[in-house]
């Protein structure tokens, strides 16, 4: 698909995007376009520039070169519009569990900040936050303290916060870290439902592709640049994986999905 449709309101993408972080170039010449609604994963080794690309798409980082489009909006020029259509779930480790907030406070944060001062909670805000908690099957957690929840419950609440302002797209940065396997599967099912029933696009930055394999419809493979993108079976070629992760990376196709095997595979074992 052509990436030159600058005002495509039904897709997200980047064109010749180069971004620097702390003075170092983190991503070079990235060009792609994904059609909305999508369920995509951004993949690559540590320091590949995954979070950087996500932040550039949110307008939180200024590109050195090139541009980003989110449903037809440039996040740098129309940051407010992009904020209103994108819900963001940051990495769990960036969230302080020391702050004594209740689950309802966390979800209301997604509504209150968008309102501006004096940020008084209204009955409509309460209703909206309850609806968001219903969407993530967590209404029973409403009065509980956020820092006393399990990793999976906390992640659901953070997704609820992102959903509280009715976004069209969800960006999630490493949502499975510190979450047990059954809760991870629950979150994937939830995200799939959000796309299928509500038409909400989902873009996940993760290290663990295999968890999502068979659920997603496209992959962006990065390592300081965009190595490949498209359906997993096409984008994750042995050459592309080797370019991203180095030698020894294999891809295994099974039941219509593919899985990445990294490390030593010579003795029947892999990681």
């Amino acid at each position: 698909m052509s990436v030159r449709q600058a005002n495509d309101t039904r897709s997200i993408g980047a064109e010749s995007l180069t971004v620097a972080y702390d003075g170092n170039v983190a991503l070079t010449d990235v060009t792609f376009r994904i059609k909305h609604p999508f369920f995509s994963v951004m993949l690559g080794p540590n320091g590949a520039g995954k979070s950087t690309l996500l932040k550039a798409m949110l307008g939180m980082m200024k590109p050195l070169k090139g541009s980003v489009q989110v449903l037809g909006f440039n996040p740098l020029v129309e940051q407010q519009k992009v904020r209103s259509i994108v819900g963001y779930v940051p990495q769990k480790e960036r969230v302080s569990t020391e702050v004594p907030l209740e689950v309802r406070d966390v979800v209301e944060m997604g509504i209150q900040i968008r309102k501006g001062p004096p940020r008084v909670t209204t009955a409509s805000d309460e209703k909206q936050s309850k609806t968001a908690l219903e969407m993530v099957d967590s209404v029973e957690l409403e009065g509980k303290r956020f820092n006393e929840l399990s990793g999976g419950q906390q992640q659901r609440v953070m997704i609820g916060r992102a959903l509280a302002s009715n976004p069209k797209i969800l960006f999630l940065d490493e949502p499975f870290i510190g979450v047990d396997p059954s809760a991870q599967r629950g979150i994937i099912v939830l995200l799939e439902e959000l796309k299928a029933k509500r038409g909400i696009s989902v873009l996940i930055v993760t290290h663990d592709f295999n968890l999502l394999s068979g659920h997603i419809d496209s992959v962006l493979l990065l390592n300081k640049k965009l190595i490949s993108y498209g359906p997993a079976t096409k984008a994750l070629t042995p050459q592309a994986l080797e370019e991203a992760y180095g030698p020894g990376t294999r891809v295994l196709s099974f039941g219509g999905a593919c899985y990445i095997l990294t490390g030593d595979t010579h003795h029947g074992r892999s990681h």
Binding site: Y88, S96, L101, M109, Q112, R114, P117, R119, S165
Partner: protein, 277 residues
Amino acid sequence: MAGLIEILMEPFMVRAMLGIVFSGVATLPVIFSSFRGLGYMPAEVSHAALAGAAVGVFLGGILNLGIDPLIFALAFTLLSTIPIARAGERAETGRVGVVLGSVLALSVAVYAFIKGMGSSEMAARIDGFLISDLLLLTWTDIALLALISIVTLFSILLFKKEFTYIVFDPEGASQLGLNVRFYTYFLFSLIAASGTVVARTMGALLVHAAIMPPAAIAMLLTKKLDRMLIASFAVALVFGMVGLLISAVIQLPASGTIGLVSSLAYMVLLLFKSRKS
């Protein structure tokens, strides 16, 4: 009893009690910095107050400026928050620690240099910020401290949600549209102002002992933010008054006694809590 009330009604005791109220207000921003592992910040920035006071006393003595050294102390602590807030924006406690250490080193150097240059009267005034005494507060001090405390109190009441959001999840808050940079500088300025208040009432050396225990006790007593803020102020007030009375009865320096009483109370509560659990 009548004798005690008579002592409490003495102007120097009234000023000391007002000083305790202001120190109680100073514990409020500490609650927020503690959530980010920066509870030690007010104590560190209060050393900038010491350097500011030294410059203020020196310039006042040489140029006869007629500006209270407390103004210089406040200006220096506010200036010191610029590099600290820059490091704190990314919630990097390690980098904040290094910057705080640099502020401390620079402040002590300025303090020692100016103290060495001035007269003994100047040195005594500068030392009033290092080891202060509540009983020596003047009405001018009280007026300035009241102004800083009122601004701090209203800022916390009005922007409590914003401060909570930036310490809870700065990245998420920024994406949602909150001006995280502005509120980080704002909160750090309030912390710096609080450090200045306590440096004047209790002395820069005792800032940590004066404001950390009430905040820490409040965090042990309750898990709700609103109650935590009220408890921190109340604990600072109660132990401040208790310490002041003890110091009056057994002739000890008021500021040190208050710091000791609060710290002991914290340790007893911690012991009680650990035994209970």
